[in-house]
Every structure is written in C-alpha cells, then in structure tokens.
C-alpha cells in the first residue's frame, strides 16, 4: 500500500492557500445534517469542537475527565510561538518554518510545517479576542520571550501558565457552543473503540465511567484529539490519566501509527526523589532564558555536593562547567531540548551529577538575580519557583535548582496526511495525537501552536472536503457494525475483570516504564532494544496471567480503567522498540548510540532514513508491517544540525 500524504503541488508559500481553494465546501444549509464525533477536549479537541460547531455541524464531544477544562493541555507552562515579528528582530513565517524543520532534525514534512508557521499568527489574534490574558508590556502591547532552538523572541506567554490560559479560552468557545446546543458534551466517558463501515470510520464505542454503560455513537467522521503517550514510560510529565488507548484502539482498527519511537525528553524537570513517585514535574524551558545550566568540573566536587558536605553556592566559579555555554556558544543555554538533555546525561555518566541521587545538574539563577533583582525574577518565574519549593522543600532563590531530563512529549502518533486524515477515511487525528509537524524533536512553545492550528484553522477546511464527498446521508447506530464492535469491547472488559492474580496494574506499569526508560529512552542501542523487546513480550504474557483488577464494570472502577490503559501501553511499548530498532540512525530525540558524530551529536542517515515510518497492525501478537512515506525537501537543504 502506498502512502499518499496529499501535500499540494506548487511553491511552498502557496500550498495552503491553493489547497484551501481546491477543497470542496459544504453548503451552509447542509452543515447541520452532519454529525461529528470529537474525542478529547484539550487544545486540539476543544478548538476543533468549537470551530466546527460555529460552522453549523452537530458535534458530540467526549472526555474522560469530569470536565473538558481538565485536559492536560492545561499544564503547559512556557508559551506559544507565532511569527508575528512584533519584536522587529528578524522573524518571519519562513524563519519559524525553518527553525521548526531544523529543530525536528529534518524528519517532518515541509508542507505541514510551513502551514503551521503560516497560521501561527492567526492563533494569537484568536486567543486575544477570546479574552486570554497574555503577558503585556507597559505600553499595553503583547510581550514576547525567546525559547530553545531559535534566536528570535517569538514566544507569547501568560506567566508560567500559558497552556491553562489557552485551554480556558478554547473551553470558553466550546462552552458557548454547548449553550447554543451545537455541541453535546459527554464527560467521564472513555472511548474504547472505533466503528468502521466499509472501511470508513462511522462512530465510536464508549464506556460511561460512572455507570459502566457501554454505548455507541454514530457520526459522519471521528476526530481523535487524545494527546500523547509519554506515560508509556510510567514516570513522565503527563497527567496520570493521559493515555494512548483511543489512538491505540484506532490503530488496531487499521489506522497506521507514525514514528512511534520519536519521544521528547525534556531537559529541565525536577529529579526523581524516590520509588513512591507517581509523576515528574516540568520546570518550563523559559527558565533557560535566565538560568544557567552547570555541573561541577570534577568528580571530587560532585561527590561532596552529593554527600551534602558543601552547597552549590560554595562551588567556586572556576570549578563550575557551564557545559551548554561552553559547547554551543551561539545558542548557549537555549539549545533544543534533545541536545540539552543528552548533554546533561553525559555529565552524569562522567560522575558529575549532583543531588542525593546523583541524577541531576544545576540550573542557576544567581546571575539573573544579580542582574535583574529578585523581584523581576519573581515576576517572570514566580509560579515555577513556588512549585519547585513545594516539591523539593528547597529555595531556588538561594540555591540553584536541581534538574534532570524527563519524558515530556511524543512526536510520534497516528499517521495523518496533509488534511489530518488517517489512512482510514473519516478518521482524523489532531494535536499531539498525530505524528505530523515536529519531526524527530519538537521545539519549545510549538505544541500549543500545533494543537490550536489543527483545531481552529486546519480541520474546519479539510474536514468539509471529505464530508462534501460522502454526502449527508444519516449514519445510524442500528447498523450491525455498531453492535459487533460493542460486543468486542464488552468481551475485552470481561477479560480484564477476570484477572485476579497477585500483581497490581500499577506494578506492571512501573515495570514497563523501567524497560522503556532503560532501553528506549535517551540513548538506544541495537542490543538494548532487542533485550527490551523480549522483556516487554514477557511482561505482556505475565500481565494477562497475574494482574489484579478489582470491582465490577457497572460502577466507578479506576482499577478497570487503568488496566485497559496499561494493557495498551504494553503493546505500544513493543511497537516503539520495533520502530527504534528499525531506525538505524540518530535524529532529534531518537539517539542510536551506533550513529553519532565525533562530537557525540545525533548523526542522521538521510540516504536511508529520510522517511516517515507508518506501522500497520496485522493482528494480535503478529509483527506489524512497515510502510514508508518518503520525505521530500524542496526548500531547505539537509545538513548536520549545528547550534555551536
């Protein structure tokens, strides 16, 4: 099967405009005859639901949380990029495009990324009009800051809570449409399967998480906006509930999974403090604007710091290695995330890690406080500093923060074409749930941009084309495909509920996380990945024998919810390992130890790996089949990324 990304012909800057004209439209009076199902209410899901309802479509929106406002987009801290060039510092749509393609280590599509940069400016306007209180300067205009991987200030922000403010903006637009009767909202409802008829997605099967009722919903198309799968690593910066189940079940119904091994390890997270830890907390990348990353120059000093016989501020200037500034003078502390993370890891492997566990480096604000004053630093980063104090009981105004990389974002996801359609007609994937725009590494402040771009400004155009083609004929749950899929779901749930072994689902999740972090984390080797594959397969067998699932279906049952999600994570984990094994090159966040430059940077193999890997599910315990979508570069020249 050949994969057609459907990237429009013509010059890069004209692709999207031309494509919008070529897409079919649905007559305004016909829009109300179409039903659209949207799963997930984060930035992508809420913005898509609101925008499509405004156009006149009937939308059914689903989330597993108790309110659409809880979606994990809410936790994004740093900001959102837009090529406004308000700072007069040389930014442009082309520069944002270029930075994003380069930041992704040339593993994203030019057409998609250019469109993303193009609509970025509209997103800011839209959010301001909704009443999103972005940071402003004294003159009343919008403020900007710089983020990793770029040399211009194009990041818009709302203190350290940008995701919260953008999500509440999209939530308010969604609420307006719920009030208008154009969106029907289903909270505490989890999607468990996709229903297909003649190869087209026509609905979903859900579980009501209060009553346990298994229900079916029909529509002319299904949009998955269900986020990423970082929780496959157990510890990540994702919310506890973030899961891959909707995307994975869609995968098992035929949707290809793109680049599953592309995961982002964020350099500035609060280090793990013990086995009890349930999640990791990010410290926004914006901190690297003013914070300086360092480790002690010698193992002896590191040893003293680990034992607590000296404190960080007692280490002399000459004994500190500001390793990012030393190695990358042009970008300094603002190198992309993958580069910063790998360098921290290197320091620790050399024995220069700090903190009780030795798994940390410093992020130091002493110079910034000297230069700007404590009040200014507080105004910029106060809530982040407070969060650090809460968690660690240490004061970052006095001593440097301890940071360590943690899994934060997944660039991989369901394969989609330029229209955000998966290879299953009628099934779309938006936001982090799809694989499309970030290549092998996402730049900071680009996730919010992509989620809102997909929901506000791409899907309202591209979905209409599909709907116009299939026509408004009503889709009804009386079709036998709905009952059949529903029965499959019930059978699966009963299988889970029958598990009365001796190991909790949480313990399996932790085991999976250890395997993934050890062998499919910041550095990956052929040998390690092969070992991981065996371990995961054994874990899966053990899970279906010895896991404990308590309670019944017809009630609130967190144990059952979790069991289904972990079972899916185990299967996904194996595919990630397969993908990482197949990709015998390093690129962005995917670092194969066998493929590095003399300086230890990721070494791509463009001749053999300039493609998107799209995996096809072939049945339980069968090897998945790889399809390749060649990446064609017409505008940028592929080169070794250089941030020095």
């Amino acid at each position: 099967m050949s994969l057609d990304a459907k990237i429009p012909q013509g010059p890069l800057a004209e692709k999207w405009s031309k494509h919008k004209f070529d897409l079919k439209l649905v007559n305004p009076a016909n829009k109300r005859k179409y039903d659209i199902i949207i799963v997930g209410t984060g930035l992508a899901g809420a913005s898509a639901a609101a925008s499509l309802a405004e156009l006149g479509y009937n939308v059914k929106s689903f989330c597993f949380q108790d309110s659409p406002r809880r979606a994990h987009s809410i936790a994004a801290q740093g900001g959102i990029n837009a090529a406004k060039n308000y700072q007069n510092d040389g930014d442009s749509v082309y520069r944002l495009f270029y930075d994003t393609i380069k930041g992704g280590d040339y593993r994203a599509r030019e057409g998609n990324v250019y469109r993303l940069a193009e609509v970025s400016v509209n997103i800011i306007d839209q959010c301001v009009a909704q009443g999103v209180p972005f940071a402003r300067e004294y003159g009343g205009l919008l403020d900007n800051r710089s983020f990793g991987g770029s040399q211009v200030s194009r990041t818009f922000y709302a203190r350290g809570q940008t995701g919260q403010q953008l999500l509440l903006g999209a939530y308010s637009a969604l609420n307006r449409q719920i009030h208008a009767g154009k969106v029907k909202m289903y909270t505490r409802t989890e999607m468990l399967d996709v229903v297909t008829i003649d190869g087209h997605a026509k609905g979903i099967v859900t579980r009501n998480m209060i009553t346990g009722a298994i229900e079916t919903h029909a529509g002319h198309s299904v949009l998955l906006c269900t986020g990423g799968y970082s929780n496959v690593f157990y510890l990540s910066t994702n919310a506890i509930g973030s899961n891959v189940t909707a995307a994975w079940r869609a995968h098992k119904r035929g949707a290809f999974f793109g680049n599953p091994c592309y995961t982002q390890i964020h350099p500035t997270c609060i280090p793990v403090s013990g086995d009890h830890q349930s999640k990791l907390t990010l410290m926004s990348e914006s901190l690297r604007n003013d914070g300086r990353v360092w480790a002690p120059k010698t193992v002896e000093i590191a040893e003293q710091l680990r034992k607590g016989t000296i404190k960080a501020d007692q280490v002399k200037e000459d004994d500190r290695d500001y390793f990012l500034e030393r190695k990358y003078p042009a970008f300094g502390n603002l190198v992309p995330r993958d580069v910063a993370s790998r360098n921290a890891k290197e320091m620790i492997e050399e024995g220069k890690g700090v903190g009780g566990s030795g798994f940390a480096v410093f992020l130091d604000f002493a110079d910034a406080i000297k230069r700007l004053g404590e009040e200014t630093v507080k105004a910029k980063y106060g809530n982040l500093f407070d969060m650090y104090i809460q968690i660690t009981d240490e004061n970052p105004y006095k001593q440097p923060m301890r940071i360590y990389p943690a899994v934060h974002y997944t660039m991989g996801g369901l394969w989609v074409d330029y229209n955000l359609s998966t290879n299953v007609p009628g099934l779309y994937a938006l936001g982090e749930c799809n694989f499309s725009d970030h290549g092998a590494n996402r730049l900071g402040a680009s996730a919010l941009m992509q989620g809102l771009s997909d929901g506000y400004f791409v899907i309202p155009y591209t979905l209409g084309d599909y709907l116009a083609k299939i026509g408004p004929k009503k889709v009804d749950i009386s079709h036998p495909a709905f009952e059949k899929t529903k029965q499959d779901v019930i059978t699966y749930i009963n299988k889970l509920l029958a598990l009365k072994g001796n190991k909790t689902v949480n313990e399996y999740h932790r085991d999976l996380g250890h395997i993934m972090w050890e062998y499919c984390g910041m550095a990956r080797t052929e040998e390690g990945l092969k070992k991981a594959k065996g371990l995961i397969q054994a874990l899966k067998v053990d899970f279906w024998k010895n896991a404990i699932v308590t309670g019944e279906n017809e009630e609130v049952n967190a144990s059952l919810e979790r069991a289904g999600r972990i079972a899916d994570f185990i299967e996904l984990g194996e595919l990630m390992v397969d993908d990482a094994l197949m990709r015998r090159e390093s690129c962005g966040g995917h670092f194969r130890v066998e493929s590095q430059t003399a300086d230890g940077e990721a070494l791509r193999d463009d001749e053999n790996f300039a493609f998107v890997a799209a995996w096809e599910f072939k049945g339980e315990n069968q090897p998945e089949v790889l399809h390749k979508e060649a990446l064609v570069f017409e505008s940028v020249h592929l080169s070794q990324r250089n941030y020095a």
């Binding site: 800011i124 909704q130 404990i548």
Partner: protein, 261 residues
C-alpha cells in the same frame, strides 16, 4: 515499595455511589516518606488494598502539578488540607507528623453530589460557565492581537482572576456552599478586559442565574473561600461580580435580555 518512616492513621469517607449512604473507614498508612505528595500516600494505601483484593479508595486526580483542578479532598477540615495556596496534589507529607490521624472527606455541598468515595460531581461549574463565561467571537475574522492596547496592570489583574482552576475548594470551604468566588473570577477576568465589554452585564446576569439554579448558597462575606483557594483568588472578585450584577439589573435592562442563538 514505600521508603519512609512515617506511620499514619487515616479516617476515610467511603461511599459506593450517590444513591447509597457512606461512612468513615479507618486505614493505616505505613512507611510513608515525607517527600510523598498526599495523593502518593493514598496510592500506597490503595496498592496495599488492591493486593488484599479490596476495593481501592476512589478519588479524583489527574495532572498532579496543581493546575488541572481535578483533585479535591477535605483534609482535617480544610479543602486541599492545612497548607495555604496549594492543591492536594502539591501537599506533601512533610506537612504532617508521624503518628498523626488524618480525616479525609469529599467536598460537602448539595450542588456537588458524591460520585464515589471522595470524588464528587462538579458539572454544575461547567453549566455556569456555559451560561455566559465567554466572549462571543467565532474562529477567524478577529483583529490583530496588538490592535487593542491593554494596560499591563489591567491584563495582570485579569490574569489573576483567570488563574482559577475550577476545583471547588471555595464551595467546600463556605458554610453556605456559595460558588461566588468561582463565578466572580470569570466575570472579573472578562469584565476587566476590553474584549469582554460588549457582553459584560449580560454575562453577569446569566452566570449568576445559573449559579442560583444549581443550588449554591449566598455569600455572607466570611472570606473562607479566599483563605482556602489554592490559587489565592481575592474576595474583590465577588465585589466586582456584585457590581456588574446590580448595575445590570438597575441601569442596563436593554443589555441583558437573552437572545437565543
């Protein structure tokens, strides 16, 4: 699997669902580390219950970094526990001492019925937002983000109100189960910004009407909501809400009639 040295006694509210009545059940939480969050301490208890084949304690939680608003818990008589300005997920066990007895209840308010154990139904909050917590602009066709200058102090003040996470601690803290801090925060945010002006008075009317319909109580200016709010939303938000609500009623009848979309 836990690695600490604190031993605690928990008195936890267990209730199967909204239709049955609940009761306190006592549990031991052993070998708790002071670095654990309160929810991680409950995770430890739940793991041991699961191993015994008992049903784990049900509670709402998600982001575990204090921003999603999903976690709740009325701990020793305080929403989100004894520490000010934090949610339960950010409350750490070092706040408690070894040997302590901790009482854990759900939010108590008739507008927040219990779902199971410690989780409650806060959909009333969503319905209040749906009644008017927005600026009526469609996607596209909006002016440039810098077309309207907004004084920094106004934008910052609007932001302070906008930090509300919708957790419901204000309601749980109030002896009247009033939701006015929550409602006032959204009315204040949009009422301060130029984008919110066209619908300012209508918004105040419709949100307050929905708040009343949901069965939340009235405000008697005790200030417990402000004291317990994990985001430290100020009582002045209620004053602004009252201002907009009453001036709408008295002087702006023409702006507040509801037109169906």
């Amino acid at each position: 699997m836990s690695n600490g040295n604190m031993n605690l006694t928990l008195k936890v509210w267990r209730q199967k669902n909204a239709q049955t009545s609940g009761k306190f059940v006592t549990y031991k939480a052993e070998s708790i580390s002071p670095d654990m969050s309160f929810l991680e301490m409950l995770d430890v208890v739940n793991e041991s219950l699961t191993h015994k084949g008992d049903e784990p304690i049900n509670f709402d939680h998600d982001c575990r970094e204090g921003i999603c608003g999903m976690c709740s818990l009325y701990i020793n008589g305080h929403p989100h526990g004894p520490k000010r300005g934090v949610t339960t997920c950010q409350l750490h066990m070092r706040t408690f001492h070894d040997g302590e007895t901790i009482t854990i209840e759900p939010w108590r308010a008739s507008a927040f019925p219990v779902v199971k154990d410690l989780a409650v139904d806060r959909s009333a909050f969503d319905r209040i937002q749906q009644a008017g917590g927005y600026v009526s602009v469609n996607t596209g066709g909006v002016p440039d983000g810098n077309a309207i200058a907004i004084p920094k102090v106004i934008a910052d003040e609007a932001f302070n109100s906008a930090t509300c996470i919708g957790c419901g601690a204000c309601v749980a803290a109030c002896k009247n189960a009033s939701a006015m801090l929550f409602v006032g925060a959204k009315i204040t945010q949009l009422g301060l910004l130029p984008q919110g002006q066209p619908e300012r008075y209508r918004r105040a009317q419709s949100m307050v009407a929905q708040m009343d319909e949901e069965g939340f109580g009235s405000c008697t200016n005790t200030g417990a909501c402000e004291a317990e709010c994990p985001k430290e939303i100020k009582l002045t938000n209620i004053a602004r809400m009252n201002n907009d609500f009453f001036s709408a009623k008295l002087f702006r009848e023409e702006e507040i009639h509801e037109d169906k979309h």
